[in-house]
């Protein structure tokens, strides 16, 4: 159906524009309504609130029983009090008191069930989200590298909400089930013939429901999928608003959005039709049941086989009879959705934490700041090593520059110092300890890192510089900012250090963001600093500031820099030239120049930065240097 409707509109859709966005249908497809394993795992999260939930279930039961009791009491009023003459007045009072007691139970139970179920469900929502979020924090970067943020976000938000709904539903479903059984039981107990006659409408309802269900489900699903497509399109447009306005694409986007929104409108209306369709069906059956009660029950009353109270009770029961059935079939949808959501949530929670602390991992207070790579081989995909048998050592206080063409393994080398990934062979040692023997927290304390693209969080500049170092003082922050030369521009901002950053630091220039990230690294005050120099050329003023800042940053620290700037490279104590995952040259600038290898050739091309050099020239240089060395 989707293809046909797209085809019909094809004359409006520009040929080079995408319509489909957001989750695909198969991602949303319903699974089973019950998955035992899923429920058992979910129960673990629920079990924390065992006591509360038992109280809630008890409340639900009390509520249900008192709801069933009320028509029965009314029946007694009619049969015992009204019809039996002179003592009836006191009996009526008794009945009313019993009724009031039932009302009291009903009230308290109602309050408790709503309150406890609501609050526990909220609590579990948070627990599940927290569990998933915390797990994500521990997952290795190789998982994060290949996972979309949007997808994780929808699991953290939409899917946990579906489970919350499930919990609420599950507790109330117990009540509905009890209510249904209670009503059927009460009716059969009051008069089995009339009860069974009334129940004859039930199979019809089930049959109708069974026919209705697959169609309705498909239409509900379609409404949900189209709705998430609309949301995806909206989100993308908001994120890319500058490109949209700059390229004046507003009209096209409006039309495309209209197509999606209209699609959703149609799907939602269709789903509504299926939803409301049940109303006349249920009411027809209620009518039929009432007609049966009036005729059969009335005849029985006339014939004296039942009292009028029984008939009254039946009529009152039948009004409530279909509610639980309706609710239970609705619950069915919620269950299915919850199972699908649960699967997606547990899929994340089940991703093994590849990099975890050893049981007795070291947490040294002080380390000497040395780095040692011994026969390190590593890659992201099996059989595709990125680093091959790397050996080098960085002495405490030394600064080493890593250079080499794109894809030569520079970034991977720095990532290993931090144990973002585990190596295949060999060992990486920091301060003399194998990184696998240290706690990750201690690595974080001793090794700080400045990324190529500075990432800033929402919040003030102060908060960004102090970041995770809670014990740093305001003086530390200002000192760090002064050291990297950021203090001056920060003070020029309207609120100085308290200036709120826009999203991703949008109100600062790239260079300024870089300086802030330097200051952040200084505050973190680690022995070892790993730095990935920005490739994008920054204006020369900031560039100068950054070079000076870099020098400050390196003072008294061991430095490992992925260097792109010649100035940085020359300033390093040692240069490691990587190519295709292997160290091809190592030494200081002069030594390497004297060697006349790849480095010398790249350097002699006189580009301002090694990353400026076009691919083909690098190829050339590599061939040349290979030629000359053999």
């Amino acid at each position: 159906m989707a293809t046909r409707s797209t085809h019909e509109r094809s004359h409006e859709i520009p040929p080079k524009a995408s319509i489909k966005l957001g989750p695909t249908v198969d991602e949303e497809v319903f699974g089973d309504a019950y998955n035992g394993q899923m429920v058992r795992r979910f129960i673990k999260y629920v079990a924390v609130y065992k006591v509360l939930l038992w109280v809630a279930i008890a409340a639900v039961l009390v509520f249900t029983v008192s709801s069933i009791a009320i028509p029965l009491i009314i029946k007694s009023v009619f049969d015992d009090a009204i019809n039996t003459g002179s003592i009836s007045r006191s009996k009526l009072s008794t009945m009313v008191i019993i009724f009031l007691a039932a009302v009291g139970f009903n009230f308290v139970a109602n309050y408790l069930q709503e309150l406890i179920v609501g609050r526990v469900a909220e609590r579990i929502l948070i627990d599940m989200r927290r569990a998933m979020y915390e797990h994500i924090q521990r997952l290795s970067l190789s998982f994060m590298d290949k996972t979309e943020i949007g997808k994780l976000m929808s699991r953290l938000q939409g899917d946990v909400a579906a489970l919350q709904e499930f919990l609420q539903t599950a507790v109330f479903a117990i009540g509905d089930l009890v209510l249904l059984i209670g009503i059927i039981g009460a009716m059969v107990w009051l008069d089995w013939r009339l009860g069974l006659m009334t129940l004859t409408v039930l199979p019809t309802l089930f049959i109708v429901r069974i026919i209705w269900m697959p169609y309705a489900r498909r239409s509900f699903l379609r409404a949900r999928v189209t709705s998430s497509i609309v949301s995806g399109a909206l989100a993308e447009n908001i994120n890319g608003i500058r490109a949209v306005q700059g390229l004046s694409r507003e009209h096209v986007n409006y039309d495309l959005f209209d197509i999606r929104a209209t699609d959703n409108l149609k799907a939602a209306n269709r789903a509504s039709k299926f939803g409301v369709m049940m109303l006349p069906i249920v009411d027809t059956l209620t009518g039929a049941a009432m007609a049966i009660i009036v005729i059969a029950g009335g005849f029985f009353v006339l014939g004296g086989t039942i009292t009028v109270g029984v008939m009254v009770a039946f009529v009152l029961f039948v009004q409530r009879f279909f509610d639980p059935i309706r609710a239970l079939t609705m619950h069915y949808n919620v269950l299915q959705r919850a199972m699908a959501s649960g699967e997606r949530i547990f899929e994340v929670i089940d991703v093994p934490v590849e990099i975890a602390d050893k049981p007795n991992a070291l947490d040294p207070e002080e380390i000497d700041g040395s780095i040692k790579f011994e026969n390190v081989t590593f890659g992201y995909l099996p059989d595709q090593p990125i680093l091959k048998n790397i050996n080098f050592e960085v002495k405490p206080g030394e600064t080493v520059a890593l250079v080499g063409p794109t894809g030569s393994g520079k970034t991977s080398t720095t990532a290993l110092v931090h144990r973002f990934y585990d190596i295949w062979e060999g060992s990486v040692k920091v301060g003399g300890h194998d990184v696998r023997d240290m706690t990750q927290a201690s690595l974080g304390r001793h090794v700080s890192m400045v990324l190529q693209e500075p990432f800033l969080f929402s919040g003030t500049i102060f908060e960004n510089i102090i970041y995770a170092k809670d014990d740093a003082t305001r003086e530390d922050v200002i000192e760090a900012a002064q050291a990297v030369g950021a203090h001056e521009f920060i003070m020029k901002l309207p609120e100085g250090y308290e200036t709120l950053l826009q999203q991703r630091g949008g109100n600062l220039s790239l260079g300024q963001r870089q300086l802030i990230s330097f200051a952040r690294a200084i505050v973190a005050d680690a022995k070892i600093l790993v730095l990935d120099e920005a490739t994008a050329s920054i204006d020369s003023y900031t560039e100068m500031l950054i070079q000076q800042a870099l020098a400050r940053l390196m003072e008294g620290r061991t430095g490992m820099v992925i260097a792109h700037r010649l100035a940085t490279i020359r300033g390093a104590d040692r240069i490691i030239v990587l190519q295709d995952g292997e160290i091809v040259e190592m030494g200081n600038h002069n030594e390497l120049m004297a060697l006349g290898g790849l480095y010398a050739r790249l350097y002699s091309m006189n580009y301002a930065s090694f990353d400026d050099i076009p691919d083909e020239l690098i190829q050339q240089a590599m061939q040349d240097s290979q030629g000359s060395s053999t």
């Binding site: 080079k16 939602a268 009432m290």
Partner: protein
Amino acid sequence: MEGTSSVGVFMRITRMALQYRQRLFFGLVSIFLASGFQLAIPILIGSAVDAAQSLEGAETVISNGSVSSAVDSIKGVFGEGSNPAKTALIIIAVLLFVASVGRGVSAMFQNYVGESVGQSIGYELRMLYYEKLQRLSFSYHAGVHTGDLITRGILDVEGVRMFVQTALLRTVFLVVLIGTGMYLMLSEDLTLGLISLSFVPFVAWRATAARLKLRSNWYALQERLSALTKVMDENLGGITVVRAFQSQEHEMKKFDITSNETLALANVQVGIRASNISMMGLAFMLAMAAVLWVGGLQVIEGTMRPGELVQFLAFMSILLQPVRQIGMMVNGYARGSASGGRLFAVLDIDPEIKDKPGAKDLNITSGTLEFHNVSFGYEGEHTLNGISFKAEPGHTVGIVGPPGSGKSTIAHLVPRFYDPIEGHITIDGQDLRDITLDSLRKAVGIVEQDTFLFMASVEHNVAYGDPWAPDDRVELASKYAQLGDYIERLPGGYDTMVGERGVSLSGGQRQRLSIARSILLKPQLIVFDDSTAAIDAATEQRIRAALTDLTKDRATIIISHRLSSLMHADEILFIEAGKIVERGTHEELLTQGGHYNDLYELEIRPSEDSSRSSDDGGAS
């Protein structure tokens, strides 16, 4: 934003709903029918009880009631000889069935109208919101978090939709139902009627009180949820930083704080809802108990028929469900007004930049851009001051200066992302503020430093500004931007997906894609806003060479901090603190020996004095 009064919000939503007159009329008819059928049911049940108990009672009811004529006609069918009580029961049963079916059918229409009007309003709001966001100027977008805008567009539209769907029409239904029910009960028996309805004022009071509390709660909750989204989104986006600083604990703390705030608010909401629902239920049940007692006494005294009492009780049990729904509706009202307030707050913003009434399309004669004494800034603080220059077709103007000097602002003024506060900008003598934005932005191609990739194929991304462009134009633009070879080497060629779901492009590749995007449109005027920073100098050279043909009759503005990018410009402006401090060609500026010359020295120094400084470095 809370200032948007809740009454105002409802009025606006209602006004939107009123556009769907036909459907609403239909809905109203259904409401009256549904209420009628609904209320007929207890009357019929009452009659049934009387009929079953005593022949005379039923006869009285039936002959007194609205159904007497029907009884007469059916009596004819059954014949006078049949048992009149049984006949009455059968008639009542048939009528009950009919009323029940009628109730179901009219309820179906009523609900459908509610839902479809809700959907239509949701659709309309979505479109309005989308349109508004596309129109709002850069200064607005820079100041809000995208997550917040997305939340509004999704959750708040949903809030309003749910309000229309579940609350608006249902309120009318409840008023009609309870109103008619009141009238019937009161006219039947004043005392018992009053007792039955004693719960109404209490419920009304609770509902109003709770709505106000819930409204502010929804506001706060929605706001906190946005904040939580922000925390999580930034954590995932900056996960490498989080790892590098091993700040998971810090991040968990941030998460927990926000998360617990939402929990606290949600708990308050649950509390209000629970006490509300149960109190309303209690009030209702107490009224029922009173009816049972007073009515029971009357029946005992013989002043009331049992059927009448049953009728009252049936009335009440029919009202039970709607009364329970009031709790839900109150929540719908509260959420609807909070959500509506948040949405209208955005919809009501007047975009700073928009077409003047009667704005004309830009009429390009030669394509000359001119800045006349342009100043820009906020609150008296000027970031640009008296900028004047002219960019003629075939000429290139280079703009250079320290960060924060206002270079990018100049670029953003050309496509009117902002308006100058003093002076004016013209293209071929037409003030930018007098021409339509659309025609202006079609004429001006701006290539920005950051490139947003849409989740689509490379081809769709390049053709973003003109999705009707034929393949060869897309390919040519990519080739000019020195991206063609790369794209052809991709596994899917031009159909390869990019963006979050697709292959990731390097900074330089993204910028080249952005250039391809702009030149595909063959704009009359091209502004490069530091858009080659991540592109290597040689590639940039080749891009420029490829573009000579395109730019020979067009004006080009290049903003860059890399002098090699703009050395060749016909005029170079050196900007400092919002002012042009030096201007001229590369050679002229060098001979002036001013800032530009200093910058030049600074930039080329590393390569010139390389041997010397490295000797020093090597020796130490």
